[in-house]
Symmetry: C2
Subunit: 357 residues, 2 copies
DNA sequence: TCGGCACTGGAAAGCGCTTTCCGAACCCGT
DNA sequence: ACGGGTTCGGAAAGCGCTTTCCAGTGCCGA
């Protein structure tokens, strides 16, 4: 990148008017101005009200958020923690959440945690310091309770401080959550594959330490056991939760178990890598090997072949989570208990799966 | 989605300790506590300092952002306006920006504007009200000055109020910007295609009202005029700046001009749609028709065939923009003028282009 | 006609923090 | 041993706003 500076310009640094100035200019008290301009319960005479509003406009008055937050002891900021906005799974969640936030006049602070516990904890603290009204946490927690505990603890802390927490993925008791039906979805994928006659199947799994992966694995295996006919051999290979992770894992899978006729990748991003690996290995999809993904990213339909996958309503989950933030505001204070919303999954059959050869 | 509530739980709603309480508990003054806990210029005795810190930890003190913002007259919040985080182009920008923000201890408020002027203006106002330290605006402004003016005006307003503005895309004088080399990139795409002997080319353009599109069109046409050999016939078809927009436009293109041997789609998302349309029309890529995109989204390499495209360093632009926010903080106040950073583009040749039949 | 009430505007007390200004304590050189 | 300079903790004045409480007005019924 190259930088360049051009001609100077005048710079009158005027900071915007205060409520007091508006009140003075309008000849009313600070209290009245406040009531007129920033939605109060108390009602002000229409005429006066109009006058104040005019003056405010003329003076280009803009309310001071931090001051309001201080006086009201609440903000309109909501935090959203995602592993990585640049991953379509999470950007869809973010988009959904932001849509609802917009309707509710909330501002969303998004942070990438890259699944790093330190970052997660740090962001929660920072959001707490900003007195964010709520925190949404998207992304699978670790299976190991010892690893999950610190995050959970911090969230509980924040929640006790009066903040609202909603997670997409199960962070345990007392924390509201919206959960995709991972087990169920994976089970359907398994039934689909065995139904097509596949008897040697590769599972390209993401980091086993994640609950999401554990659930999808479990669901898939459960589905396999339910299948009629000959017993199924399954090979499980782990890779990073990315395109390259799927690519590498699939290469290893093919090297070690050349006989597989189907591959189940535990996320579409991984499936994309798997597809590349299969192609590279000269396996035709679906003629030689069938491939199933998970998530149903928008791109799936445009892959060649189009990817059979399990649809997750990511955007819907983001919306739902954000809705919960506002709609049961005092849930915990009421001692009511935890709210859990389940989001259904659905197998979408496309061109990447076919009967076993 | 189905909802369910489970067992109740106790709910002691304790809000976190204040600085005053920490000071009292530590037996020091408010001022000292403040100096110890929230980085002040003044230094406090190491021993005392340690003591205060201990007490603060014990009391689980968390600084109150809004109060600090009020007292300091500045915040650590930065706004980021994007057309849609769910579009990989923008999510990459967001990821880049957030990475740098993280380093600088800034919190990023992301908002989707869906290219709706009303939303853009509204968000800027709201960010201004929150006293966001800076606003990043990603996305092409309209070509029509009458349409671009309101946004520009509002940004200038905000800037005058002491906020920092950096745009990705040119919002005109006095507003710092980082600009992708759209013209240059498109020109290269044209040269590549004509170099392969294509003489009847389709341009699948996005909304003509956008500067980005105008620039890419211009660059492409310029490249065509520079080509050696026979004159080139070019057909321009407009579509929405999405996958479906590209799909529809390409279908129309093929219907009206079946003779095209190459298509230049002005964004990869559109190219993906174009690819689908070509496939559907029975045209082999690249044997019958060559295809070039723009942006180099990560998925491009995994399409079939892999997409020849013009790489834009989206993530780098996001980083750069965020860096500018912090690194020349008082640029406008100094009357220095505008800073413009150019981000290079590069033609990436992959499998979707081949010599004309 | 008059007491009482509903209504509405204003004064003032914070909300939690930063920072300026003071003054006490301490160190040094002479 | 003493004056001047340097440190460093504390008191207090805000930052811009909300909201409680109070007081003035006008209206009602009796």
């Amino acid at each position: 990148m190259s930088t360049q500076r051009s001609t100077p310009s005048p710079a009158p640094r005027r900071s915007s008017a205060t409520l007091q100035q508006v009140a003075d200019a309008a000849g009313v008290s600070l209290a009245t101005a406040s009531r007129v301009l920033n939605g109060s319960a108390r009602i002000v005479n229409a005429e006066l009200s109009e006058h104040v509003r005019e003056v405010a406009t003329r003076l280009r008055y803009v309310s001071h958020g931090p001051a309001q937050a201080l006086a009201r002891a609440t903000t309109s900021l909501v935090g959203l923690l995602v592993h990585d906005v640049n991953d379509p799974y999470f950007s869809a969640i973010a988009a959904g959440a932001m849509r609802v936030a917009r309707e509710r006049d909330l501002l969303v602070m998004v942070a990438n945690t890259y699944r790093e516990p330190v970052l997660e904890l740090d962001y929660i603290t920072r959001l707490g310091a900003q007195r964010a009204r709520a925190i949404l946490v998207a992304g699978s927690p670790p299976v190991d309770p010892a690893l999950a505990e610190p995050l959970r603890e911090r969230l509980l802390d924040y929640q006790q401080g009066g903040g609202r927490v909603v997670t997409i993925g199960d962070q345990g008791p007392e924390i509201d959550a919206v959960l995709p039906a991972n087990v169920q979805g994976a089970r359907e994928a398994a039934l689909h594959l065995t139904g097509l006659g596949h008897r040697e199947i590769g599972m390209v799994v993401g980091p086993r330490g994640l609950v999401t992966i554990a659930d999808r694995s479990e669901g898939f295996r459960r589905g396999l056991t339910e299948s009629a006919g000959d017993p199924v051999v399954v090979h499980e290979i782990e890779g990073a939760f990315t395109r390259d992770g799927g690519y590498d894992a699939t290469r290893r899978l093919l090297a070690e178990h050349p006989g597989v006729t189907a591959v189940f990748a535990m996320a579409d991003v991984m499936a994309i890598g798997a597809l590349a690996a299969l192609r590279e290995a000269g396996r035709r999809v679906p003629a030689d090997v069938s491939l199933v993904g998970f998530d149903d990213l928008p791109i799936c339909a445009d892959l060649m072949p189009a990817l059979t996958t399990v649809r997750v309503d990511t955007e819907g989950m983001g919306e739902q989570a954000m809705r919960m933030v506002v709609e049961s505001p005092a849930e915990d204070a009421e001692g009511e208990g935890r709210t859990v919303v389940h989001s259904a999954t659905e197998l979408i059959v496309r061109g990447s799966t076919a009967p076993a050869a």
